[in-house]
């Protein structure tokens, strides 16, 4: 690890992820008009902006769900083009989507391993036992009311669902974990737990991208913050050199950049 980590915004080799001039339209809706963002290695980067600013769309471009119309994404200096979410996962990027991307009809453990199930034996049958056990172990650290891993997601509370999605993303020993409003539906205790998870991830060397509307949370957790407005990245700050009030001014446009 480098010691000059805290140097203010200069593009260094500490940049792990760099998205430049990302554009994405849906029909006539220009969701992203050239958004950029950088994430530094081992830091928590926050992304803030009003509803509809394009945060989730940018996240979906980063995680391989959407293909940007133009712009480049660099991971560790290399240009990447994710064709599917699995490509992003293989590169060590996990995402908690805002909609959680859970299948309600499936059990918790099935959701946990969806798309990368563990198999065993000559017929490559699902290793149900191992998957249930692993899911239960990972979930235990996170949820206050741990749901049984065999229950269908449909039967879980909103907070429990969120815990499942977060534990799923956090459990893979990845380089980058992106969380799109991970504490939106959570109670006080659960929020504290999730914040603890985010800090633990950071301390173990994972870089985290946190989307949040909670400025206290952003100031408390993040090292760096990017502000989006109407499909563009309009400002970035070290949280140590900014304040919640300044972020509000940047988001609304009261302060330009």
């Amino acid at each position: 690890m480098h010691t000059e980590l805290r140097q203010p915004s200069s593009p260094t080799k500490d940049v792990l992820l760099e998205a430049t001039d990302i554009k994405k339209s849906f029909g006539g809706v220009h969701a992203l008009k050239g958004a950029s963002i950088t994430m530094r290695r081992g830091e928590i980067t926050a992304l803030v902006g009003d509803n509809g600013a394009g945060k989730s769309t940018l996240v979906r471009c980063l995680s391989g769900i959407h293909k940007p119309d133009s712009g480049t994404i660099r991971l560790d200096g290399e240009v990447i083009n994710f064709a599917t979410p699995n490509d992003a996962r293989k590169q060590g990027m996990e995402t908690v989507q805002q909609n959680l991307a859970l299948v309600e009809e499936l059990a918790v453990w099935q959701n946990f391993f969806l798309g990368r199930e563990l198999v065993h034996g000559p017929f490559r049958t699902l290793d149900r036992k191992l998957m249930k056990k692993t899911a239960a172990d990972l979930l235990k650290n996170l949820a206050v009311n741990v749901p049984p891993v065999t229950s269908k997601v449909r039967r879980l509370s909103g907070g429990q669902r969120q815990a499942v999605a977060i534990a799923r993303a956090a459990g893979w020993g990845s380089k980058i974990v992106i969380m799109d409003e991970p504490t939106a539906a959570l109670g006080v205790q659960e929020t504290a737990k999730v914040e603890q998870v985010i800090l633990t991830l950071r301390d173990s060397g994972v870089s985290v991208l946190l989307i949040s509307h909670n400025f206290d949370q952003v100031m408390r957790l993040a090292d760096h913050v990017w502000v989006m407005r109407a499909g563009l990245s309009v400002a970035q700050r070290r949280t140590s050199e900014s304040s919640g009030d300044e972020l509000v001014a940047l988001i609304t446009g009261a302060k330009a950049n």
Binding site: P85, Q97, V103, R124, P148
Partner: protein, 328 residues
Amino acid sequence: MPTQTKADAPPRQTPPLIAQAKQVSFWAEQAAPIGLVGLVIVFGILSPTFLTLGNIRAMLVAAAILVVLSVAQSFVITTGGIDLSISATMTVGAVGFGLAWQAELGFVLAAVVAVASALVIGLINGLLIARGKVTDFIATLGTLSVATGLALIFSDGKPITVNSSELLTLTSGSLGIFGYPIILAVIVGALGWFVMFRTRFGLHVQAVGGSEESAVANGINAPRVRIAVYLISAGLAGVAALLLVARVGAAEPAINTAFLLNCIAAVVLGGVSLTGGKARIVGPIIGALLLTALTNGLTLLGVSQFYQPLAVGLVVVLAALLTRFQKK
């Protein structure tokens, strides 16, 4: 609060059968087995022949084709789709078998031709739906007509007589009261169950049916899964075609609409929701047995053939109403 760590608690909070039976949802979940038992009791009392070994054997043989088609349809319906072309695909398979047999290719090659020609229809369905984004209902309604037409064109509208000793063995052979057709159908069912509930592919089928968006976000190739289920459906329709030719003794370009309606009915009876995401294999198989027992019992009681579709329809509508009370 029950937590995962309390492993010393009894395995599941399954209440005893009596307590379960007081809830409507229990009856809704178990509609097919309860219906089957009910029918067997009623027909057993009303008709002295119904529960004879000979009749049970005949019923099981008669159920084989419907069981195979129901397993096939179950895969498609689990993804939230529907295969309306399934019986027409079976007809194409039958005609394919007949033509290959006529060309003296022998039983094995003719069977391969049957399955392969059925798979062509399945591939067209899959591509139309997964790549062309045509609604399942419309796409398979189209191929239903196309397949029926092709079968008529290739056979020139005439049945092709097939005198195959292998097919004769298939219809008449048995182990005890279990004729070869039902044994084949049960093997198909067991394989279907295994694929659906014990393989990655089966889980992906359920995931795509449950929420395509979430499945895709987790790296599942939804179009590929959709193509695969239509191939499975068509391939099994090809297998069913062999049973059909064996039973009739000829490859007929008949329309076989009853099979289509009954296999969808069996799947619904078996507790599979047409909206997808909820997989069942045993339920639809029992549903298929139920519908066969219903037709058989009515015939034994001397009820006119005209009343049979009416009875099947009533049972299906009743089952559909009951599914409203299924646990979510």
